[in-house]
Structures are given as C-alpha cells and as structure tokens.
C-alpha cells in the first residue's frame, strides 16, 4: 500500500506505551521522591501542553496566550460546580472545554489575521485581556484575585452507579483517563488528512496555500482545538485542587506551558508531558536543595535557552528520534530563506 509511505500506519505502540506508563506512573514516581498529587498535576499540564504542541509543534503557531483558555475552561467548570449549578463533573468539564474552545475561535480569528511575530505578540496581549477581565469586570463570577474555592470532589454518574472520586490516587486515574483520551485524539488528529495539512503549514505555509489549502481556516480550527485542550486541562486543575486559582490566567502560565513543551519536545505530543514532569519535579527538587532555593528558575531558564539554541527537538524529540516510537517526522531543519522567500 503506497500510503504507508506517508505514515498512514495504524500502529498502537505509542498509545500502548503511554497507557502503560499512565497506569504505572503513580507507583514508580515515589521511587524518585514524587507523589500522586504531583503526578496528577503533571498530567494536567501535559494535557494542556498537547494543545500547545498541536498549534506550535505541528502547525508552527507560537501562542503566548494559552493561559486565557486554561483559565476560561477552569473558571467555567469551577463556577458550575462550586455554585452547584451542575453536579455531574463530566458535564461541567465539557461546558468549560466548549466555552474555552469558543473563546479560542474568537481570539484565533483576531490573532490569525497576522502570522509569525505578530501572532505571538497578539496572543500575549489577548491573554492579558482575559487576565484583566477575570480580575475586575468578571470578579463577581470568578472571585477576582481570590479565585474560586470550594469545588467538590468529582462525581461521575454512569447511569447504573455514580462514581465518587475521592482519594488522591482515584483523582490521578480520573485525570489519567482524561489525559489518555486527549492524547489518543491528538494522535488521530496529527495522522489524519487534516494533520498532514497542518504539518505542511508548519513547513511552508505559503506553499500549502498555493496548492489549494485554506490555511487560515486550518489554523483557526487547530487553534480552537488547542483552546479546548487548555480549557479541559483548566477544568481538571480546578476539580483536582478543589480550587480554581486566578493565576491560571497569568502570562507566566502561558510562558510556562511553552517552556514545558519546548523542553519536553515540540512535535511529539508526549513532549509536553515530559517537559511538565521535568519542570514540576525539578522545581520541587531544586527548591528544597540547600543553597539553590530561589535559583531554580534561573537553572530551568538556562536549560531552556540551551535547548532552544542547540536541541530544538527537546528531550522527547531526542529520544523518539532515537527509537522511532513517537516519530511522525524528523527534526525540522532551521527554516532558511529558501523556505520562506
């Protein structure tokens, strides 16, 4: 079959590996000083990062405003659950995800009027708008600077019974199921015809347009999907902590998810999870290391610079290039004038 040549293989290796890892993670993590809650947090960021990877690693759009959607999804979910408007956690999560996606469409429509540098600046600026809106005009619903506390532990009616997710480990597996679903969907997306077009846009947007693809529409579509990922992750964060923090909207949050995605490896889908793991783990490990304390950000910042400068594919990218497990494409060569002239 000739289409094999374009990576259209139904391999389940990556999915299987990720599933096994997700099951085992809370059991192996304590061996290196981790714990279940940290594992959950890493998965939430990893899910957030998959969206980031879809737009950046697969389509080449560097958004500095993803926190807007993370926060939106989180606060919608948190509002619905904490006020008791909804009791079913899944419905609240879905509502948050959808609202975040709608915001993504709106912001995407505005920001995608420009590409490259402009796009990054605009997303950053619109991220700030959401931050200000959350803090003042919408404070009645979002709690402003205080955030929204008091989310109940998840309840999932299955028809015949209602699942109560109470222990830390149960919460972990609840988030792990969401993460796996997100990962599986993302894998399908990047291997779909649409995914092929996205990679073409990453490689050479002008040519992708010239051969007949409506590039702005594809960008908007994937931007919306990424916003949905961010929204779902935000919703999970609130559910997991029982509290939705206002800093989910902050510029720093947008920056961190970029750093995690790059450190882990953009264009791999699993990279953001690796990056989030490293970031969260080092952050805690270094913080408690005597004499390093407040310098953890410098160390991670320098690591990031080195990776951007020399190892553009990040950690997961490097590993997967080696073993070919998550491979969908090879290392992007620096775009030269030839590609963009």
């Amino acid at each position: 079959m000739i289409l094999r040549a374009v990576g259209d293989r139904s391999t389940w290796r990556a999915e299987l590996a990720v599933a096994l890892f997700l099951i085992a993670f809370p059991w192996i993590f304590p061996a290196i000083g981790g714990y279940a809650n940290l594992a959950t947090r890493i998965l939430i960021l990893g899910l957030f990062g998959i969206g980031m990877d879809l737009i950046f690693g697969y389509t080449g759009m560097l958004s500095f405003g993803q926190a807007a959607f993370y926060g939106t999804g989180g606060f919608v979910t948190a509002y619905l659950l904490s006020t008791g408007l909804l009791h079913n956690t899944l419905w609240a999560l879905a509502a948050g995800t959808i609202v975040a996606a709608l915001c993504g469409t709106l912001i995407g429509y505005l920001c995608l009027r420009q590409a490259g540098v402009y796009f990054a600046m605009l997303t950053l600026a619109f991220g700030e708008v959401f931050y200000f809106l959350e803090n003042s005009p919408l404070a009645k619903w979002t709690g402003g600077e205080n955030g929204l506390p008091g989310l109940p532990k998840p309840e999932i009616p299955l028809g015949f019974t209602t699942l109560h997710v109470h222990s830390n480990l149960a919460l972990y597996y609840f988030v792990a199921v969401c993460f796996f679903a997100g990962y599986w969907i993302a894998r399908r997306i990047v291997r779909s015809p649409m995914g092929a077009v996205l990679r073409a846009i990453l490689e050479n947007p002008a040519r992708a347009a010239a051969v007949g693809h409506n590039v702005p529409k594809y960008k908007l579509a994937i931007f919306t999907i990424a916003a949905a990922y961010a929204g779902m992750a935000g919703g999970l964060l609130g559910i997991f902590q029982g509290y939705m923090p206002p800093d989910a909207f902050s510029i720093d949050q947008s920056g961190e998810i970029i750093i995690m995605t790059i450190i882990g490896g953009a264009g791999t889908l699993i990279g953001p999870l690796v990056g989030a793991g490293l970031w969260s783990y080092l952050r805690e490990a270094l913080q408690n290391l005597h004499g390093v304390g407040a310098f953890w950000k410098i160390i991670l910042g320098l690591t990031f610079i080195v990776l951007v400068t020399l190892f553009r594919r990040g950690i997961a990218g490097g590993i997967s290039d080696g073993i070919g497990l998550f491979r969908l494409r090879r290392a992007p060569a620096p775009r030269t004038d030839e590609g963009t002239a």
Binding site: L62, L110, R113, M121, I259, I298, F304, I305, R312, P334
Partner: protein
Amino acid sequence: MNWHLLIAQLLNGLALGSILALVALGLTITFGLLGLVNFAHGVFFMVGAYAGLVTFERTNSFALALLAGALVVLALGIVVERVLIRLFYRRPPEDQILVTFGLAIVIVEIVRAIFGGKTQLFPMPPWGMGATNLGFLVYPNYRLQVIVIAAITLTAIYLVLYKTRLGLIVRAGIDDSLIVNILGIDVTKTLLAVFVIGAMVAGFSGVIDAPIVAVDPDMGASVLVESFVVVVIGGLGSFTGSIAGGIIAGEIISITTIWAPDYAQVMLYLAMALVLILRPQGLFGTEGRL
C-alpha cells in the same frame, strides 16, 4: 463634565505615551531593521533602571544614572548579541522569540537574586521635584520634563538612523547584506550595532521611568506587553507608528480613567483589537511587512 480634569488627563496621556513610545521604538528598531522580536526588551528596560538606581545612589547625579543605564544595557546587549542572538538571525521568528523569552526569565531572576524582590525607591532628581501650576491643575515637573526628554531622544534616534552614514549602512545592511559585504562593511557589526541601539533605548527609558514607577525586577514585564500593544496599534517596524501608537495608548489609558478606571487596561486592548480588525498592519505599518 469637568473640563479641567479632561485637559489634565490629556496632558497626562501624553506623558504616559511618550515613555511607551520610547520603549516601543527600541522594539520596533530591532524588528524593523533586524526582523527580530525581542521578548527580553522589557528586561533591558528593567536592567537599565537598576543600573541607573545604583549609579544615582552612589553619585547623586541623574545624568550619570541615565548614562549608566544606557551603558550597562549596552554592555549587556553586546554580550547577549554576541553569545546568543547572532545565532538566531537566520532562524525562524518563533525561535528568536523563544530564546529571548528564556533570556528574560534568566535575567529577571538573576537581578532578583542580586537586588532582592523589594521595590526600591528611585529618588527624584532635584530638578524634577516640585510641580508646576498650569492654572487649571498642578502637574509634576518631572512628567513634563519626561515629555521633553522623550521628544529629544526620539529626534536623536531618528537623525542617527535616517540622516547619518551609520544609519544608511544599517538600513542597507538589513536590506541586502551581500551588497554591503561587497562594499567592505562588516555586516555582523552592523547587526550588533542595531541590536545594541534598540537595547540602549530600552535601558535609557528604564532610567527615565524609574523615578515615576519605582524599581523592581518585574517592572519590565508589563512594559513589554504594553509596548507590544503600542506597536500593534502603530504598526511594527514603523518609526512614526511607535510614536503615534505610544501617544494613542497613553491617551486611552488616561481618558478611560476619568470615567471607568478599572476598565482602562481593557480599553487599551479593545483599541488594539479594533485596529487589528480594521487595519491589520497597524496605523502606520506597510502591508506585507512581516
């Protein structure tokens, strides 16, 4: 309607705007001439303010503080450009953004490690103290002087870039590095010069702004975001655009504050969205210059 207040806010908008214009100009120079967007631009602003603060505390001279702000950032700019940025001129804009973004984090945290996170008082220079009674309001002298300093600086930069041989080489070097090379001019030095000019302007603005806003390691972040808004409104890469954008932004903030202070920031971004919809390349930007 209180007309005195409106006039006062209009004047204040001009003062706010002139600093924004100055910061945005540095950003726009590096972009317009190097095609590089510097997410560490706000950090240069902050480092300039700290350098100025240290100098002012030692020498009690604001002129020396200004000089120090510009020179320290010049030195920082040279190091950063030689070690890191020069590797990125030919890489995609996303990589440039990422590396300058990483750089910003590292520098902010280093400054925090050295000076602590405390907000520090930057004393008002003696000549800037006091206020002028303009008849209808009392307005701080220093803010009036800032308008003048900003105007002079903007003019000076304009003259350097557009009326001198250096400026000519710089602009030619960007347009066609090969030809300038053939003419025997070292392009890498030109690139360095542009980057450093952009950085210096930021450092200089940091010192000017410091007596107004106090100095802390995070002061660069908000300035960076606002100057992004300014260049989006004015048109990235346009000299006139950054000045006009700065003043427009300043006026929007000031005038909104009269009626709805808590919406001042939101209004600013709303204006930006409006420009994007009606004129995506910015008020003074040229189409296709991305």
